[in-house]
Symmetry: C2
């Protein structure tokens, strides 16, 4: 099997899971960390940041882009990546509701 039963869950739950999954890898967090500091960066330098091969780094970038977290624009012969600020803020708002704006009014087990 190994096949997540998305039909059992709400669209919100499935989408949130996909977004979190895209972030949930140390190499991809390292890429995001760097882009948050540097604002933008080309693939070649991000290969150095991850310490992984060009091919592997490229795949991580693709995953982040597919999840809508990054944008990339062609710059001469290079690809220039940066955070997609609009989508980032949308995701931040969702995470804020889910994770931070929680008040526990009872103690428990």
């Amino acid at each position: 099997m190994g096949l997540t039963k998305t039909a059992n869950f709400t669209e919100r739950q499935n989408k949130l899971a996909l977004m979190l999954k895209a972030v949930a890898h140390p190499a991809r967090i390292a890429i995001i960390d760097h882009l948050l500091k540097a604002n933008e960066c080309i693939t070649g330098y991000l290969v150095e940041v991850t310490g992984l091969s060009q091919a592997t780094t490229s795949q991580h970038l693709r995953e982040l882009k597919e999840a809508g977290l990054l944008k990339g624009t062609i710059e001469g012969t290079s690809m220039n990546y940066c955070i997609d600020q609009v989508k980032w803020k949308e995701n931040a708002a969702i995470l804020k509701t889910f994770f931070i704006d929680v008040k526990f009014d009872e103690t428990c087990c």
Copy 2:
């Protein structure tokens, strides 16, 4: 080869990735959603919440517990789960720094 190179990354990056990975599944989000509403819940009912088998649900609960997100206490013949409020708030603080307290001072690509 299917083996994440944790040595390439900081402890913070690795830990954050592990925590996010634990949350990044719709069944586990559904479990957390329910526990945030209901405060506490036994395994049997969480099986209904996920719509998955008892065995699969039990594994998801174990993963959340190992990641420190849930606590479980034996209650008669049942297992009573709830959010680990202390760890939850720690994680929320980390996520707040990473995701929400970000200000983009420049536009980009």
